[in-house]
Symmetry: C2
Subunit: 384 residues, 2 copies
């Protein structure tokens, strides 16, 4: 429960950014800038920006485009994948165009993460040119890093060809510094959430993070600074059982579970998620050769597509301690094999640490909302 | 319908091989031989045999072990993965031990193919030491082959350490020759199936192929020769609409769909499957450096975990022509994202070639048998 509901003006900057950003992209396109769409954290933004392209994220969080997608994709597939695909075909084939940025993309840079996305990209290519990077699945393997570096080198070639610009080490270093600065600001924001009464709730923070890969880096960072400034001067406190939400991404439009948690009295203090710590936790080493430094940082992202993913288990335990978490809501999207299978190992690790776990597997519909509320109520009651 | 149901004695050699093979493995173990378990065609048998180990396949086709597996794995996961895992824990934890070979394995050599298997292997390692090879997901990528060769080199090291034997090029060449010989015999067998009235049915052939990765290569080959000899002298003919079954593996114990197809009057003339053409179609180049030749051959296997998988689409069309196929039954296991998503591209390709398609997504239970029968009846009627 937020005890002090003092209005945060800067949060609206994120919320209201959509039309301005669309106009900005339209203008950039007129000026000859190329727009790159991405759907995963394993594609380093720094390389895209270093070649003078702009970048927007295309992960779908809305339920509406799923119907159209199911004409091509199995029903038993993760809603994020279906929503993303549906949003693209909606832009290309229909008149509704509710998310215009899906239609402005010149090239999608995708990656071989999970089976569902990897195979969906094959169909996506018919609508928007799609380049898929390979991704080693066993990051600790001796040769995985070298393979990933080679894949990043190939991506560099593709982007140079798309834009006609050369990606130099100087440009890469500049973008690495810029992205690290954003990461440091997010760390500063998360530091505030370690307080007994954090000044910002999880549902508020999630809406900020959902804009991280949509807004231009400068604008996102400028808004972050304003948010941090506002949080420093406004006395704002929230309370409730301290929850970590851990698991699948919560793309823009998909707020069902975090909203239920906080509406029922829980307080999300940390998100172990692609819309959370996985998006910014590790910095890129600014002193190393840039492509290698990028590869090292990005290959460390503890997505459940990686195996074994011990780094994720360790990080969950670390975050649970640092953020003084009372309980973990393990949040998965239906049919996401990676996060659903990894639930067992995470559950075992939390059990050993005496941290309660509530597991919620869901989709983008509202059909299970009441059932989730009941389960969340019981979980929060147990934690209080 | 098999018009001439002349008994094939040699088929029983495959069917009845189980107890003898178990005794053979037990004896080998006493003599110090190491037993390697595999669960996928991307692990080259030749390397395992070249280091003096024996090999059995651990892919589960039975329904019974799934209940035990679901204590650890999500229900919404492919039955083959759950059955395989359940069979291992059954061997290690219970008294029933219905598939003793699961308990005789010294090391599992697994691979990062699909998400479900990759993540299941992390849990399997608690019961049987499990080594997981990485696998590039984009076989056409410039650097994929080199990465795969490095992974095979690492596998070689692991197996040499396990057995204490050195894997030389001479030994590898010997095993490549041996495996190619088996592949040639299978091609000879499949040639007979191109006839207007093939002398062997799909359900018979499948039971042969299910033994391919269970029996010792010499024994399997010896039985194949006997089968070929018998087919030459016995006049045996079968008829019915000519069906290609294409999609997921049909591991031993899982005969539901092929049996329904043939019991209802269809005639399976070719299996585009891991228990089918994918297991033996391409030969290893005997003139190249052995590890590179193996990598080239195995990376070409057109599993749906690969992207894009154009080679599979092309092969399906080629097989449909060569085997004079009337219709394709696209067979998938529930929640297998790879084959389920790829259904769209296969369907489009078949439509363009005017080949009818029946799509069946199922599990290991009998719950949908009647429904499948009705759909198969309607499909066969349409083809007649």
């Amino acid at each position: 429960m937020v005890e002090d509901s003092i209005f945060l003006r800067s949060l609206d900057l994120f919320k209201d950014a959509f039309p301005g950003r669309i106009n900005q992209i339209l203008k950039s396109k007129e000026d000859g800038k190329k727009i790159v769409g991405t759907l995963c954290l394993y594609v380093p933004d720094e390389i895209i920006y270093a070649c003078g392209a702009d970048r927007v994220i295309l992960c779908g969080g809305r339920s509406a485009p799923i119907v159209a997608a199911e004409e091509y994709l199995p029903r038993n597939l993760c809603p994020l994948i279906k929503s993303s695909f549906g949003s693209v075909i909606d832009q290309k084939c229909s008149k509704t165009k509710s998310c215009p940025h899906f239609g402005l993309v010149d090239l999608i840079v995708a990656e071989a993460t999970c089976d569902g996305k990897k195979k969906m990209y094959e169909l996506l290519d018919k609508y928007i040119p799609t380049y898929v990077m390979d991704l080693p699945q066993k990051p600790e393997n001796q040769n995985a890093l070298e393979y990933y570096i080679k894949e990043l080198d190939s991506l560099k070639d593709v982007l140079e060809k798309l834009t006609g610009n050369k990606i130099t080490d100087v440009l890469l270093r500049k973008e690495i510094k810029s992205a690290n600065e954003t990461r440091r600001l997010l760390h500063a924001l998360y530091e505030l959430r370690k307080r007994d009464s954090p000044p910002i709730r999880g549902t508020e923070m999630l809406k900020v993070l959902q804009q991280m890969h949509f807004l231009a880096p400068d604008e996102f960072r400028k808004n972050l600074v304003l948010l941090l400034d506002e949080l420093k001067v406004k006395k704002r406190e929230s309370s409730g059982p301290r929850i970590m939400i851990s698991g699948c991404p919560m793309a823009s439009g998909n707020m069902k579970v975090p909203e239920i948690i906080e509406n029922r009295g829980g307080l999300i203090v940390v998100e172990e998620s692609c819309t959370g710590t996985r998006a910014f936790w590790d910095l890129v080493d600014e002193n190393k050769e840039p492509m290698r430094a990028l590869a090292e940082r990005y290959l460390k992202i503890p997505c459940a597509c990686m195996s074994p993913n011990d780094r994720r288990i360790a990080q969950i335990l670390q975050l649970a301690g640092d953020f003084n978490v009372d309980g973990v809501v393990y949040y998965t999207l239906q049919f996401c094999h990676g996060y659903n299978v990894e639930k067992y190992r995470v559950g075992e690790a939390l059990k050993q640490s005496g941290i309660p776990l509530l597991s919620i597997e869901t989709d983008y519909s509202g059909a299970d909302s009441e059932q989730i509320k009941t389960r969340v109520d019981a979980f929060l009651e147990m934690l209080e």
